[in-house]
Structure formats: C-alpha cells, structure tokens
C-alpha cells in the first residue's frame, strides 16, 4: 500500500475541482469582469489631466486590488468549507473507508482549491492583460499623434513609446499575478490547517482573516523587535520572533504588485525565491494539518 499516491491524490483533486465548479464559484469571475470594466471606464472619464503613465498605473492598481481581494476571499472561503462540507455530506466517511490515507485526502483537497484558484487567477489576469494592452495602445496612438503635431523627431517618439511600453503588458505584470496566486495559496494553507481542528466554519474564516492581517504586519513587527533587540533586550524575543516568522506567513513578501505599481521590475530570481518560500510554508501547513487530522474522529 503506497502511502502517498499521486494518482489517488489527483482523483480527489479533480473531484474537489468539479465540486467547486458545480457550486458555481466561477460566477464571481463574471462579477469581476463587470467590476473591472465598469470601474476602469469611470476612472478614465474623470482623470482627464493625468499623464498616460498615471492612467495605466491607476488601472493596474485598481485591477490588482480587485484580483487580490477576490483571490484572498476565495482562498479563505473555499478552503474553509472543504472539510465541513464533506462531513456534512457524510462523504468523508465513505472516502476514508476506501483505502485512502488521510494525508492523500488532505493533499488532494488542497490541490483542488489550488487548481481552481490557478484557473480563476489566470482568467482574471488574461482579462487584465487585455485591458492594459488596450489602454497602452490607446495611449501610444494618442501620444504619437500629439508628438507628430508638435513636430518631434522619430527618435524622440520611439523613445517615448519604449518608455510607455514598460507600463504595458510586461513579464512583471504576469509575475505580479503569479505572486497573488502564491499569496492566496499560502492563505488557503492556513485555512486548511485551522479547519482541521476548528469545530465551525465561522471560526476558521475569522481566524484565517486574523492571520492574514498578522501576515501583513509581521514584517513590521519583526523590524520593531529587532530594533529593540539591538538596544539590548533579552535573547528570548529572538526565538519568539523567529517562531512567529516561521509559523505565520510573511505576506508582505508577496506584495509584488505594489512594487510593480511603484515602477519596479520583478526578476525571475525573485519569483523563484517567493515560490520556494511558499512551497516550504505550504508544506509545513499541510504537515501540521495532517498531524491534527490524523487521529480525528468522525
């Protein structure tokens, strides 16, 4: 009997995916599309005095905010209901009575949510790319016309176009979406862990939200502690801060889209590092979830 069978995990993943899709969770994508289109149109009507860069930035800022909020809300809600739903539907009994190790069950469920988030974020990011592309091209056409009437040289125009394209569809833009997926996955891992020992879905959701905020502020808190430390505090706090750093996700790391908005470019190496951090931490959450779930009675 293999303990960790990829094909069995895939069966559960696919089942979870189908289940979530049939619960019509994808409807929120339509809401997203409408929201994005609507808000961006509004934005463009009012900001007549903005430069092209500012316009593009505000489009991105708004879109990323929406994508991120959707992803986080989705990660928390979908993961929090996974196990309670199976208990309520009593499917858990029948699944665990088949030769399915509990770790395989948890991994399969988690990957099901991950798969769904990947598809959803890919779809949203595709739409975002479309919007950005449209606005960049529009800005380029508009500015070229303006430059021509002002009688600027071809070289100036080309330089300007190059500058503008940096605000358009770039690799960094894709990385920012990918970072959102990673952040959402990490939060889903936290929600999974909490749901293995919590007795109500509400508790799971509330605690995950709390951890989400801790995750965003922990980097600041750590800096604060470290600065105190250098002023000669006791060594106990370092262990504590290290423990906090390991147990809680440092979500500021994943704020790649914020950096992007400030005009930073994002390197592949940086993404690799993020992915590694996420994988390690998700692995830890999964292991802890399994530990809590291993002996659970139904």
């Amino acid at each position: 009997m293999t303990f960790f069978s990829p094909s069995r995990i895939w069966v559960i993943t696919a089942n979870t995916f189908t289940q979530l899709v049939r619960m019509k969770v994808f409807y929120f994508l339509i809401a997203f599309a409408i929201l994005c289109a609507g808000l961006n149109l509004l934005e463009f009507d009012t900001g007549a005095t903005e430069t092209s860069e500012q316009k593009l930035r505000s489009v991105k800022s708004l879109s990323f905010f929406i994508i991120r909020s959707f992803s986080i809300v989705f990660a928390i809600a979908a993961t929090a209901i996974l196990i309670p739903k199976d208990i309520e539907e009593r499917t858990l009994y029948t699944i665990l009575c088949k030769p399915v190790p509990r770790l395989d069950y948890l991994t399969g469920k988690f990957l099901g949510v991950f798969l769904l988030m990947s598809v959803a974020i890919a779809a949203m990011s595709l739409l975002l790319n479309g919007i950005i592309h449209y606005h960049t091209v529009a800005a380029m056409v508009e500015e070229t016309a303006r430059f021509h009437t002002a009688g600027a040289s071809e070289q100036t125009i080309a330089l300007r176009m190059q500058e503008l394209s940096r605000y358009g569809v770039t690799w960094s833009l894709q990385y920012a979406s990918l970072a959102i997926l990673m952040e959402a996955t990490l939060i889903a891992g936290v929600a999974l862990l909490i749901s293995t020992f919590s007795s109500s879905t509400l508790f799971t959701i509330v605690s995950t939200v709390v951890i989400f905020f801790i995750g965003h502020f922990q980097a600041d808190a750590r800096e604060y502690y470290l600065s105190k430390q250098s002023l000669g505090e006791s060594g106990g706090t370092t262990y504590l801060t290290q423990l906090v750093a390991i147990l809680f996700p440092d979500l500021q790391l994943f704020g790649v889209s914020d950096g992007l908005l400030k005009g930073k470019t994002i390197s592949l190496a940086q993404m690799g590092q993020l992915a590694l951090t996420m994988l390690l931490q998700c692995g830890m959450y999964l292991a802890l979830s399994w530990f809590a779930f291993r002996k659970k009675e139904f």
Binding site: F3, R8, Q19, T91, L96, C97, P99, V100
Partner: protein
C-alpha cells in the same frame, strides 16, 4: 482467519468538560468467520454504529482492538477489503450517480475499462441505471441508499459492512437488498450488518448479536438463540381438523406436557429482542 475480529472494544465519548463521559460501547468482543453473515441488533443509541465505525477506523477505540482479515483497523491497509455503507448515506450532491460510483472506484485504484465495466455493473445491480445521469441532489432517500450500496461494492470487497442497509428503502427494494446480501453470501463474502428489521435479520443472518446500552448481551447462531430448550414445535402441513383434535387429546392425556400455543408460525427473534430489552430495563 476471521474476517472481523473485535476484542474487548470500549469507546467513551467525552463531549464537554462538565458532562459525564458517555460509555457508548463497553467491552464488546465479536468474531465473524469468513463467509458468514452477522447481524447486530439493538435499540437506538445502543452503540451499533459506533462499533462499526471503530471497525472501519473512523473512531479510535478507547480500549480494545479491531482487526479486519488480520489488519489493524487503524491502518489504511485494512480498508482495501472492506465496503462500507454508512447509515443515511449522502454524497456530493453535485455529482451524478454514475460519477459518484466512478469516483469511489477510482479511489480504490480501478482505471480504464475495468472501471467502466464495474461502474455499469454496480449501477445495474442496484437498479439505478435509468437515473445514472441525474445529480444526487435530486435523489430520493432510497436511491441514495442504493448508490451507497453500489459505492460500497465497487472494488469487490471481501467484507461488507452495512449500517441499516434497508432504512428508507421501499418493501420491494428492501427485498432486493436482502436477496443481494444472500447472493454475497453465496459468493463467499462476509457481511456485517445492523438493522432494526428483525424479520430480515432473521432471514439473512447466520449469527446474531444483541447489543444493549453498549454491551453485547447475547450472541449466537439464529438456531441457538431462537430455540427454547424445553419446548417443541410441530409445523404441520395440510393437517386435518381431525388430526389436530387427536393430537390435542393425546397431549391432554399425558401427565406433564401442555400445549402452550397453537397457530401459525411467527418470527421468534422479535420476541427475544423485546424480552431482552425488557429484562435489561429492570
């Protein structure tokens, strides 16, 4: 080797801090040899489902142990040979009947052609072929019970554990399920079931255990349990009025025998069940 080997199983539930722990099952030992049909009967809340869940590893015994074909129930290996139908089964309501059976088949490692054939066979077996493309959200209680049975049998288990297999199933359906159980027995499968329908238990089971407030108070073959030593029963076919009169006269003339009752044969397990319940209540 016994298919099921439960030794000194006890299970306590601690609900809240203040409430007294509830002893749901106390010191239950039961063995089921391969190929037998064992029926567990008892009133509501007597610990039947708890015993079954412990056998499946869904609950950890507080003390004692459960083994299935020699494998400890707490280990995943033990579940390869078990098919389980929980009480009031319910499944993902967004899946169709066919998808549900396929899903459980896949979990058991079935793939490709075998999976397809097995799914079809199971749906036929529980007569749900006509409803296979409907989602379970729209299934009736009896239909869910049937899908539960199909899912339990999909990997050809050597042991099937059925928690009230006929609850909510119509009389014809429950007769079909009874026939199914008998056919499992013919194929050499071991069956462990619990039910409130004593007549049915009596019809299909080789051995019966009576559980009362968590204790296994009586256990034995149907023959042993239901025969009353100092009484003798004649079951006559086509006996004439005259013959019956003669027999009655004959008994009257004897010094110590008395006729307690004459009439049509009745289920006796039911009487035993009620008697046990009554004597335990004192």
């Amino acid at each position: 080797m016994n298919a099921v080997d439960i030794r000194n199983l006890s299970k306590t539930f601690k609900s809240s801090l203040r409430a007294k722990p509830l002893l749901a099952v106390r010191d239950v030992s039961l063995q089921i040899p391969e190929g037998q049909v064992y029926g567990l009967i008892g009133p509501n809340g007597s610990g039947k489902s708890t015993t079954m869940k412990a056998l499946l590893g869904l609950l950890a015994p507080t003390s004692g142990s459960c083994h299935v074909f020699g494998h400890d129930s707490l280990k995943v290996d033990s579940r390869k040979d078990i098919g389980f139908l929980p009480e009031n089964p319910y499944f993902h309501k967004h899946l169709t009947g066919e998808e549900t059976v396929r899903f459980f088949g896949k979990l058991c490692g079935l793939r490709g052609k075998i999976l397809k054939e097995k799914t079809k066979e199971m749906l036929d077996l529980v007569s749900l072929t006509a409803a296979k493309d409907r989602r379970l959200g729209g299934y009736s209680k009896g239909m869910l019970q049937r899908i539960g049975l199909a899912q339990a049998l999909v990997q050809d288990p050597r042991l099937i554990v059925l928690d009230e297999p006929t609850a909510g199933v119509d009389p014809i359906g429950s007769r079909e399920i009874r026939d199914l159980i008998l056919s499992f027995k013919e194929r050499g499968m071991t069956v462990f079931l619990c039910s409130h329908l004593l007549e049915q238990v009596q019809e299909v089971c080789d051995t019966v255990g009576i559980i009362f407030q968590g204790e296994l108070v009586n256990q034995g073959s149907i023959e042993e349990l239901t025969s009353i030593e100092e009484q003798t029963e004649f079951i006559l076919e086509n006996a004439s009025e005259a013959l019956l009169h003669q027999i009655t006269e004959l008994v009257k003339s004897s010094s110590d025998a008395t006729i307690l009752r004459t009439g049509k044969p009745k289920t006796t397990l039911e009487r035993l069940f009620i008697e046990t319940a009554r004597s335990r209540n004192h």
